[in-house]
């Protein structure tokens, strides 16, 4: 698998707009089939910011995950219930 080079891109402030990049593989959502990425998402937190495709710092705990993009902030999801 080839990952996007997130560091090569400037941050894009998109607020609550839907993302442009796949959180799993870091490639453009408009390009190619991301069905496998979607399936992987059931057992994998996102690794790339959907707004700027920077690699995020992801902390997984037993009951949740938090993914932080240096430009676009953090997303936290509870995985229990």
């Amino acid at each position: 698998m080839v990952f996007a080079d997130a560091g090569a891109h400037e941050p894009v402030a998109r607020g609550d707009e839907p993302g442009t990049w796949c959180g799993q593989c870091g490639l453009a959502l408009a390009d190619g089939d991301h069905a496998a990425c979607e399936r992987r998402g059931a057992l994998d937190p996102p690794r790339f910011c959907v707004h700027c495709r920077r690699r995020m710092k992801v902390q997984v705990t037993p009951a949740a995950w938090t993914a932080t993009c240096v430009a676009h902030g953090s997303v936290e999801r509870t995985t229990w219930g």
Partner: protein, 337 residues
């Protein structure tokens, strides 16, 4: 001598040897079990379950794990997304102490008796040991749960420090059988791993030592892992199924088939009749819901609940409901098998 060589059936041999006499299968016998066909799988699982019930009882040990230091590891374990040597998207991150305590509390709320703190390192440095000292003390002050640790290779001084902190179990996997290990890791040796395991055992801490299957090893090498774990006599064996991680050397391998995985569980139970055998990483991908149930009725008597270090697990309520349905009580704190 193998069952095949004497014209006997390996499951009949295992029933008499392991179930009735409590003598573990040898490496050659484990290999025979791994070579049995799908038509024998239900009989094999039923036998492994009988062995588990006789020597370990119906209780299941429940554990949660958390990554204190994620990513950036200098080692090159080919299955691991946390190695700094691969193009894995996992970035380095540290968990702070309040979050560590919160995770321990959440784990304890499931009825779990074990909480394992893990760091992706070759071995702990002074900063990590200080974090551990602070974190273990904070957990022990706030949560009624046993604290375990997995921090890579240790010196004797570090083993002593962990004992002093109150860490009661230490995880250090063999990962693979000796003959396959160089295909999995090149930055340290199998013997270096054994050294840490032996120091842990001698310290009085419980040793948790298992490995991964489905990494491209042969059945012979899988049987070798079971036998080498048996020689080490750990308190617990966590059994991981490869979850191929993007960007790692094993990232393009296919996940193991369910039948193979279940046969492996049963074979390991017959090789380790008195050892806690835990479902660890990869079970959701490899076994799914039905396979998880079959494994619990085929030799498994411990589970990791919730998420793993970098990947997600099942909702603990699903696992707890399954244990309830199977009439397998969660092991109580300080209860021994």
């Amino acid at each position: 001598m193998t069952a095949q060589a004497t014209g006997t059936d390996i499951l009949d041999v295992a029933r008499e040897q392991v179930l009735e006499r409590g003598v573990p299968l040898t490496q050659e016998q484990v290999l025979e079990v791994l070579r049995t066909g799908d038509e024998r799988l239900q009989d094999l699982l039923a036998l492994a379950h009988e062995v588990r019930m006789k020597y370990q009882g119906p209780a299941v040990e429940v554990e949660g794990i958390v990554s204190l230091k994620t990513g950036g590891c200098p080692e090159d374990c080919h299955f691991c997304s946390q190695s700094g040597q691969f193009t894995s998207p996992v970035r380095s991150v540290w968990l702070n102490i309040p979050e560590l305590v919160r995770a321990a509390k959440q784990t304890a709320a499931t009825g779990a008796t074990e909480f394992c703190i893990v760091a992706a390192v070759r071995g702990p440095d002074a900063k990590l040991m200080e974090q551990m000292r602070e974190g273990v003390a904070a957990i022990r002050a706030a949560v009624d749960i046993q604290v375990a640790a997995s921090l890579g290779m240790l010196t004797q001084e570090q083993v002593d420090e962990l004992v002093d902190m109150g860490v009661h179990r230490y995880n250090h996997n063999l990962e693979a059988g000796r003959s396959y290990f160089p295909q999995v890791v090149t930055t340290h040796t199998f013997d270096e791993r054994l050294d840490t395991c032996r120091m842990v055992k001698e310290s009085g801490m419980e040793l948790c030592c298992g490995g991964l299957v489905g990494m491209g090893e042969t059945l012979e090498q899988r049987a070798e892992l079971a036998a080498q774990l048996g020689e080490l006599e750990p308190h617990e064996v966590p059994l991981n199924f490869l979850n191929p991680r993007p960007g790692t050397p094993f990232g393009d391998l296919e996940p193991m088939g369910t039948g193979d995985a279940l046969r492996t569980i049963a074979a390991f139970r017959l090789a380790l009749p008195r050892t806690i055998l835990r479902y660890a990483g990869g079970r959701e991908l490899t076994l799914g819901d039905l396979g998880t149930r079959d494994g619990l009725l085929g030799g498994i008597n411990a589970v990791i609940v919730g998420n793993y270090l970098t990947t997600l697990g099942r909702d603990p309520r699903e696992d707890l409901a399954l244990l309830d349905e199977l009439e397998m009580p969660v092991k109580a704190l300080n209860e021994t098998f």
